[in-house]
């Protein structure tokens, strides 16, 4: 009897741990352990395990971090540029793709002919594999044979060197990202919109609120959680961008469109840079972590306040 009760209590206590054990093991093995390795490896120069020029790697403390933040250092130049680009890219995506997704959702939430077709057309880019879509865009942006320039020239405007002009290439990458993401975000907003009770709008209409007022005072506040969620994922997606760059000139010319994760990927090729690669990875993780954590805390507080 006592043994049975004890067993029951044991099972009740241990069961949750047993249930998360497989996931926990995987997370430890593939996330936590590599993260610790990354911290350790970031403290060596040129790279742990490489005897460059016959010399063993040296423990250099935070020197790798100092180098990647130094504008005259070859890696620092690239890192600082990619970091700036990534911020611009992330902010542009959040500030343009998210409102566009919301606008599309509002337009396509209303009953109209061929609504499903329109929704599908807008969502379609999200279904395409990014590397393929970006390759198609590389043709569209091509200088002499591209569609974008054909349109410009037919309007009597000069063609632009979309992927060759250092001032345009980041913009080109941002355009593709917005095209790709807006339809995806629309789905979240559509779901959010359909969760808002019809009666609220009916009541507001009875009280004399027009369409714009309904949007500002009803729709937006009730979509707050969706908006926050979509903004967070769009920001973190931006930090994970690699495919477009692979298809569109590899972040060039002169890194003018290079982004953080792609820069890290590029530098894995030579082991003597792995000290820097690990340092850059930690900075990337730190930024995403701070952002996600900040949002999470805001979100939690918001929930508790209700």
């Amino acid at each position: 009897m006592i043994a049975g009760a004890w067993r029951q209590r044991f099972v009740a206590r241990a069961l949750p741990y047993l249930l998360i054990a497989p996931t926990l093991t995987l997370v430890l093995m593939f996330n936590v352990l590599p993260a610790f390795n990354t911290v350790n490896d970031s403290l060596y120069k040129p790279a742990r395990g490489l005897n460059a020029a016959g010399k063993p790697p040296e423990f250099v403390g935070l020197q790798n971090f100092a180098d990647i933040l130094d504008d005259s250092h070859y890696m620092g130049q690239r890192f600082l540029r990619a970091f700036r680009n990534t911020l611009v890219f992330a902010l542009a995506t959040v500030m343009l793709a998210v409102p566009l997704g919301l606008l599309l959702a509002l337009l396509l939430n209303r009953p109209q002919r061929l609504r499903s077709l329109w929704r599908f057309a807008v969502f379609y880019p999200a279904l395409l594999p990014l590397i393929g879509a970006a390759s198609i865009w590389s043709f569209i942006f091509s200088d002499s044979i591209g569609l974008a320039n054909a349109v410009l020239r037919s309007l009597g405007l000069p063609g632009l060197n979309w992927l060759g002009d250092r001032n345009l290439v980041l913009l080109s990458v941002i355009i593709i990202n917005i095209w790709k993401q807006a339809g995806y975000f629309m789905i979240f907003f559509l779901a959010g919109l359909q969760n808002i009770a019809r009666e609220l709008y009916e009541a507001a209409a009875l009280d004399g609120a027009g369409g714009f007022q309904q949007f500002v005072w009803l729709t937006l506040p009730l979509l707050r959680r969706t908006l926050l969620f979509v903004s967070v994922i769009s920001f973190t997606f931006a930090f994970q961008t690699v495919e477009q760059l692979q298809a569109l000139g590899e972040g060039g010319p002169a890194d003018s469109a290079n982004l953080l994760l792609y820069l890290i990927f590029q530098n894995i090729a030579e082991r003597r840079n792995w000290g820097y690669v690990n340092a850059m990875t930690l900075v990337l993780i730190a930024v995403v972590l701070v952002f996600t954590l900040g949002n999470f805390l805001l979100f939690e507080r918001d929930e508790r306040g209700r």
Partner: protein
Amino acid sequence: MIAIRKRMLALFMLLSLFVGAAYAQDDIVIDFYFPSATANDAEGIFQGYADRFAEENPGIRINPVFTGSYTDTRNTILTELQGGGAGPDVAVMLSIDLYSFAEEGYIAPAQAFIDSMENGEAYASDFFPALMSNGVDEDGNIWSIPFQRSTPILYYNADLLAEAGYDSPPANNAELVEIAQALTTSERHGLLVPVAGGFPIWMYQSFAIAFGRNIVDDDPTAVYFNTPEAVAAVEFLRSLGAELGVGPAGGAAWGDTPVAFLAGQAAMIYHTTGNLTRILNGADFEVGVWYLPSGPAGEDGAGYGAPTGGGNLYIFDDGSKSQAELDAIWKWVTFLSSPAIQADWGATTGYIAANASAWEAEPLASLALEHPQYLVARDQLQHAGKEFSSYATITIQGIINGTLESILTGESEDAQAAMDAAQAQIDGILADYR
């Protein structure tokens, strides 16, 4: 349930029996990794070579593994080796990968194998010297064997040149500019040099060599990126788009260039010999091919020049392989670099067959007779120089590419200053090796 399991087990055992039978125990298996940078059916071709080799060499089996692009191949091999895996026995990698793999101790020099051959001297000297330059270290030891090689050449639309009154292609930079300007219209570029898109260094080297000095020599710890010749070369290249307007400012993209040429939107282009077959087959006009024009030094032809490019055969051994395995590996390497295979590979892909006697073998000999353009690519090799390679090749190549792009796109106006800064960074890296 149990019955099904038993049946599955029986099936599995039966299958493994077959597999076991097909893979005889005593066979030496050579893992051969290869990239493909062409649209051809490289997998099919290599399987054909492997079968042919197996017939001639009982007891040795080749396992050809397609590993993507050059970069993918390199990363695959590094990942396998650094993770403690076996890696390939033989692989095709860029000829400029030599020092990074030698530094890690992954590859074995071919020199020892050549020395052990009866006719080693003749074997090695049959390769075009320019194609050997990237496979040899500063002490003259041969590490890798040329396999799929290329150089940039000048393609010109002979019909357009003739219309404008030019019977022959430009021989030097002055003529190049003159003809390019004469053939530039609002619909057409006079000259496209593909330096946009991440990898300007290769085309740039053509100009550096033409201006009188390559940016590398035999010493893998030395780079000459801020010499007067190096600066003049990039300034000339920049002027083509920015001042002369014969091509887009900042240069053309790699993939666009042959497309524009075939569409009649470019009168002349610099591009790889690797595209020769495709361009000859795709053009509805007469395609001319000539040496890259010489630089200012070249009244006597001295300023001709192009870098070489492409992939070599590397032998992987960390010292643990048996003599029998090494012998088998070397047999496969000599098979792939034999005149017969080089002639076949060159004719099907457009790569320059790497040894002189391959050009007398079929099917290449007839092809060259039919299309003399192939011979131009071969003959330019006498003027060709070493492709950029040093210790820390990829890192330094990245610095050079970034600097060239920032000059060509107008971000760095002062070319000399930008190249001095780059040279200082490069010297900082190479100081470890000096």
